[in-house]
């Protein structure tokens, strides 16, 4: 796919800007990515990055509480935000007539958000409900993104729960919020992306008008979250009160997503070879031929690929019947990985994976919200938004030998195995 027009520049205050004009539909997407995620939370403040994301919607100097939502929606738009290990994003998709409004709304909260005790208390309640909904009250809630990292990783940034413990959330203060904002939410620590139906010159003027006088503050020094690779099989266990069947989450370390893109892509192709479609190796054997599991999936990243810096996690998750011992499941998995390590996948196996990836990238870019967010996160993490448009080609260039080598690295003695037990089994299972 040819590179569409992409304009990248930096404002005097350090804000990086990505413009991706496309007039096929009269809508625009606007996003701001801040270079801070839950890996940067200090101990005792788990869940703070996500809680702070909620607060950024609660008013700013020019906008009363609730005004942000109303102005986006009364312009015909939709909005949201999300917190990842290494970044936090905010975004709107609106009819193109509302472009200036969206820029105004993002600039106002970048310049002067209103951080109040009342809003903090309210959003602590809302976030606790979010956690009850998505984790505490449902089967396999938080599996594996909350439950696997503490088994695979040993340092607080990589291992802790990004949704946060209720006690930590409840003890967050307005003072914490002010410090977090001043440290991490500077324009020099952010990327603004505008994609869709607009004219580049006019958009540049509007961006200067609204973001130009947000004062510069230096971007914080980015710490390394590096950890040594595991040297033995790490094991963990959780009891899930709602789960009807046992599950396994298996985590491996992968190549540095930023500095070894092609190495990382080999693991993405490997994930496809293993579990993408009925013809994939693990689906064929573990789901259909033997069958040992009810469902199985493999992938890069705890939320999907390209959303974290090093270290990043390759995961295999599966649910299996009570009567199948997990040792049998793991043995079959290791056997398939070994076969792949010894004999590289054939050409058709690779083409199946890369053709599906090509199509899914097209589909993702067709949704304006996904395209806007992908451009922003690639600019932030990789320093190059245009990489988004070259991924399909880079992926097609991954060799069978590289996939085989990736499979070889997924060794039993360098991984984490999380066992999820239904409460009915307690600790006496098998």
């Amino acid at each position: 796919m040819a590179d569409p027009e992409l304009v990248r520049y930096t404002l005097d205050n350090g804000l990086r800007v990505v413009l991706a004009p496309d007039a096929t539909a009269p809508v625009v997407g606007v996003s701001v990515h801040y270079d801070v995620g839950f890996r940067s939370e200090p101990e005792g403040r788990t869940g703070f990055a996500h809680l702070f994301e909620h607060l950024m919607f609660q008013g700013s100097e020019s906008l009363e509480k609730l005004a942000h939502f109303r102005h986006v929606q009364s312009s015909g738009g939709t909005f949201n935000g999300s917190t990842h290990p290494d970044y936090t994003d905010y975004f709107e998709v609106l009819p193109s007539a509302a472009l200036e409004r969206a820029l105004f709304l993002e600039a106002d909260r970048m310049r002067a958000p209103k951080l109040t005790a009342e809003n903090l208390a309210n959003q602590i309640d809302v976030v606790k409900e979010e956690i009850r909904l998505n984790v505490l009250n449902r089967p396999y809630g938080g599996f594996p993104w909350i439950t696997l990292p503490p088994v695979l990783y040993s340092t607080f940034p990589n291992a802790h729960n990004g949704y946060g413990g209720f006690e930590d959330l409840e003890s967050a203060t307005v003072e914490d919020c002010a410090a977090f904002f001043d440290t991490y939410y500077s324009p020099a620590n952010a990327v603004l992306t505008v994609a869709g139906d607009f004219e580049v010159g006019a958009a540049k003027d509007l961006i200067e008008k609204h973001f130009g006088d947000v004062p510069h503050r230096p971007a914080p020094e980015r710490p390394s979250f590096a950890e040594p690779l595991p040297t033995t099989e790490l094991q963990g266990e959780t009891i899930d009160p709602h789960a009807p069947l046992p599950a396994l989450g298996i985590g491996y370390r992968m190549p540095d997503p930023i500095n070894d893109v092609d190495g990382y892509l080999a693991y993405l192709v490997l994930a496809g070879v293993l579990t993408d479609g009925d013809g994939s190796r693990l689906q064929q054997r573990l789901v259909h031929r033997e069958p040992l599991v009810v469902d199985i999936g493999a992938g890069a990243g705890l939320f999907g690929p390209f959303e974290a810096r090093d270290p990043d996690t390759f995961t295999i998750t599966l649910i299996h019947p009570h009567e199948v011992p997990r040792e049998r499941v793991l043995a079959a998995l290791d056997d398939e990985l070994e076969k792949l390590a010894e004999t590289p996948p054939d050409e058709q196996e690779l083409r199946k994976v890369t053709a599906r990836w090509t199509a899914s990238l097209h589909s993702e870019h067709d949704r304006l919200v996904s395209r806007t967010l992908a451009l922003g996160s690639f600019e932030l993490l990789y320093g190059d938004a245009s990489l988004v448009y070259r991924l399909a080609d880079r992926m097609s260039a991954v060799t069978a030998e590289a996939v085989s080598a990736a499979a070889k690295s997924l060794r039993p003695d360098a991984r984490a195995v999380l066992v999820v037990k239904p409460a009915s089994e307690g600790n006496n299972e098998q």
Binding site: R132, H288, A359
Partner: protein, 459 residues
């Protein structure tokens, strides 16, 4: 906590210049008219083909009415949906997957009491291959014994997982409470029914019910709408029957028995699900009703969300929206709340229902929902997949692309009086039935005190 020196929250929240005015909206360009064909093939299948060449893909949606009143129907239908893509006379399961993968394609099948839906996509220049696989599956799915046996086992396990989901439990309770034993209530089949389904029953159901007459195929993407009709006549020509696909019997009108508190011991969160009869998209009053619903709980800036989430923190998400079934429509109100917040949340939810009729939306509030209705239609249909979904929803009730093109003007023309009338008529608290699923030991005495609540298992 992270930096030694930082400003206070008060300093952060103000600048020397002070608050700034909200910029006005610019001029809005309308969406381009899309070239399309809306026709019926010789076999009775309605086809809507739309050219939207934003990316080199084609999205496909096939909707087949698929009702049945046999007690085993939901189980047989579920097994059929799980195995329809597992082999034909020409291709086995692995070959179907491989052929689709090589064209960047996918097809999935899902079934509910009303319809069987096949959803797929592929790279646009490989559309002929995609259609060939689709036609092969529709006319030649074989349902091999061993595939049926295996998928039944998986299905039984998956049903077990599904039935532990609070939302599935609440949905099932709501269906039974409001519709009794109407076939529409049988959304998740019983595991013991799935276990006894035979391959012969599945093949017979395909023969009897996977039919083109009365079904709709939507294709959206980088395609030639006229040429594709000719291709379809060739590929789907062998898919034919004199009979029409089986529609669901009409749902009874909701008149609203009490809200039922369904006990779920020890639950940390409750599911509030309320429901009332409204009118479908084909009704002349729909646009006004749509705006009334948005103001109530249909978008984030609604009264319900501002009250029970943003002001009181009772819930992470509260929402109201329409559910269309064949020619009818109801409005559903959903919120999940902490056990302690459940009774006050139900009180506020009902209060806002009553207030919508007595103090109806007007002025800025009305203009906000109007703009949202028009603008969100524009954004949701700007992608191929979004447009395909929207067109399918319309086509399944007999509407076409014209409805989509004309709807912004209908919304623009709605008056405040019409919205007020719809609010009073359709959102009156006494019209709503529903369920609350939660820890009855804690909830019972408070919910009963609110009135119009009874405790028990759904019928």
């Amino acid at each position: 906590m992270t930096s030694a020196t930082h400003r206070s929250a008060a300093e952060i929240g103000r600048t020397a210049q002070g608050p700034r005015p909200l910029p006005p909206l610019g001029a809005q360009r309308a969406a381009a008219d899309l070239s399309h064909v809306d026709t019926e093939l010789a076999n009775g299948l309605r086809v809507l083909a739309v050219r939207k060449a934003t990316v080199p893909l084609v999205e496909a949606r096939l909707w087949i009415p698929f009702a049945g009143d046999d007690a085993l129907h939901p189980a047989i239908a579920e097994v059929l949906a799980e195995t329809i893509l597992t082999g034909t006379a020409r291709r086995n399961r692995i070959e179907i997957d491989a052929e689709l993968a090589l064209i960047g394609g996918d097809i999935g099948a899902g079934v509910d009491p009303e319809r069987l839906v096949l959803t797929g996509s592929a790279l646009a220049d490989k559309l002929p291959t995609f259609l060939d696989v689709l036609g092969d599956v529709l006319t030649g799915a074989t349902y091999a014994d061993e595939e049926i046996a295996r998928e039944k086992e998986r299905l039984v396990e998956r049903i077990a997982v599904s039935r532990t989901q609070p939302r599935t439990i609440a949905r099932e309770a709501l269906q039974k409470h409001r519709y009794g034993d109407h076939p529409a209530t049988r959304e998740v089949p019983k595991a013991e029914d799935v276990a006894v389904v035979t391959p012969e029953q599945v093949r017979a159901l395909h023969q009897a019910s996977v039919l083109p007459r009365g079904a709709v195929l939507v294709l959206v993407g980088d395609l030639d709408p006229t040429a594709v009709i000719g291709d379809l006549e060739k590929v789907l020509g062998g898919w034919a029957s004199d009979r029409a696909a089986v529609r669901l019997p009409a749902l009874p009108d909701l008149t609203g028995p009490n809200v039922l508190l369904v006990p779920r011991a020890g639950a940390v969160q409750s599911q509030i699900r309320l429901s009332a009869q409204t009118v479908p998209r084909t009704d002349p009053g729909y646009a006004a009703l749509q705006l009334a619903n948005l103001a109530y709980g249909g978008y984030f800036s609604s009264r319900l969300v501002e009250n029970i989430r943003e002001n009181k923190g009772y819930t992470y998400s509260a929402h109201s929206g329409f559910e269309f079934t064949d020619g009818t429509a109801v409005v559903n109100v959903d919120a999940d709340t902490a056990t302690d917040a459940t009774a006050p949340a139900l009180l506020e939810t009902r209060y806002e229902l009553g207030r919508l009729g007595q103090v109806p939306p007007a002025g800025d509030e009305l203009e906000s929902v109007r703009q949202y209705a028009i603008g969100s239609l524009l954004t949701s249909t700007s992608s191929q997949a979004g447009l395909a979904g929207q067109v399918l929803a319309l086509a399944s009730t007999g509407l076409g692309l014209e409805w989509l093109n004309e709807h912004p003007a209908r919304v623009a023309a709605v008056t405040a009086d019409e919205v007020a009338e719809a609010a009073l008529k359709f959102f009156a608290p006494k019209r709503f039935t529903g369920v609350v699923v939660g820890d009855a030991a804690v909830l019972e005495h408070k919910l009963l005190a609110l009135g119009d609540v009874v405790v028990g298992e759904p019928a």
